[in-house]
Subunit: 214 residues, 2 copies
């Protein structure tokens, strides 16, 4: 059952078909889409799907790890970029664009799957890089000083809410929200005293609570 080796050629092939189908179905209809549809799309029997992924979560995990690694790579590139302020804004925009393009990402980036090392690793990598990026941008006076990584998580949750409503009918609406949020992060902008940011424990619990099936 390992994803690496020890799998027969056709088994490995079918596993790939299932993951690809899940990527498509979850992307279009969300992480709660019926697994029968995934199996049908993969042209594979439902029993085969369950043989490879006994739990829905394991399939979600297989779909999302790639995306989360993309995200982490994006964050690490941003840290190394010459203009940290622009890199921060560009990063936020890109991640939100990933959410807009894929329902699985929308629901997955703000959700948390405990006991899943394959997802925790890129997640902490991304959060670490994000913190560094924010620190750099703030040191150079290009980012409002009271913004933290947790705020970016709030942005993703907010964007998820807008996308939930507007994805079909107003596919560009999220851009407007993100532009406003980034304006609020501008160091030269009007800045009121902000209410406290959630603690990392609170944020972790929030992400757990956002997991599909509540």
């Amino acid at each position: 059952m390992r994803s690496g080796k020890g799998l027969r050629r056709d088994a490995e092939l079918n596993r790939g078909r299932v993951v690809a189908a899940a990527r498509a179905v979850f992307g279009e209809r969300g992480l709660e889409a019926p697994l029968e549809d995934v199996a049908r799309r993969a042209e594979v029997n439902i029993a085969t799907l369950y043989r490879h992924f006994p739990k829905r979560e394991s399939l979600i995990e297989a779909v999302l790890t790639d995306r989360l690694n993309e995200l982490a790579d994006l964050a690490e590139q941003a840290v190394r970029a010459p203009d940290p302020g622009a890199a921060f804004r560009d990063f936020v925009e890109r991640v939100c664009a990933m959410q807009a393009a894929d329902r699985a990402v929308t629901e997955g980036f703000t959700a948390c799957f405990p006991n899943s090392p394959g997802m925790e690793e890129p997640r902490t990598r991304a959060l670490g890089a994000l913190d560094a990026l924010i620190r750099r941008a703030q040191q150079e006076g290009q980012l409002r000083s009271d913004v933290t990584g947790a705020d970016v998580m709030l942005f993703l949750m907010a964007n998820a809410g807008v996308l939930r409503s507007t994805r079909q009918s107003a596919p560009g609406a999220w851009r407007r929200l993100v532009a406003l949020l980034l304006d609020a992060c501008h160091p030269e902008g009007f800045a009121s005293a902000l209410p406290p940011v959630p603690t990392s424990e609170e944020l972790h619990d929030a992400m757990v609570a956002t997991r599909p099936g509540r």
Copy 2:
């Protein structure tokens, strides 16, 4: 079956119990909570519930019309307030607080129930007052000039997204989002060129799409 008259005394009473129970249950667990729980909470048989509200939507409607009228009243008060800029910010904050206090409101304010005159009336009343409020605040230079009523709808959708994730674990997180959004609306703030706001048709479709049960 009219809510006004022609109902026997005990029938009227039971109807009230059901609505009160639905307000509580939907408020705690969302608009998709099992109707059996509503009936149990009302200490009423499930059949009685269905006799009064043959469709789930009709019960939701009964619960939400009050809240929507509150919202519309709030908006109309804000229009008459002396300081339109402060009134605008206060209005947004209050509406978002209503969302934070009640899951039914969270889901209902960004959803749309077609063919429901009891809800369309306060909704259009609120939107009309909101537009007037925004115009006044902008005329007095207290609100960024490119903000529209549709942006406030986006705020509500965004807030709904944050609340979905953080309601239990970080109950104050929404305040931070709203503060940032309001900073972005400040006329003295940094203001980039914004992507286009969704049209009112798009927004209507978005709200229809947000209706429970997709």
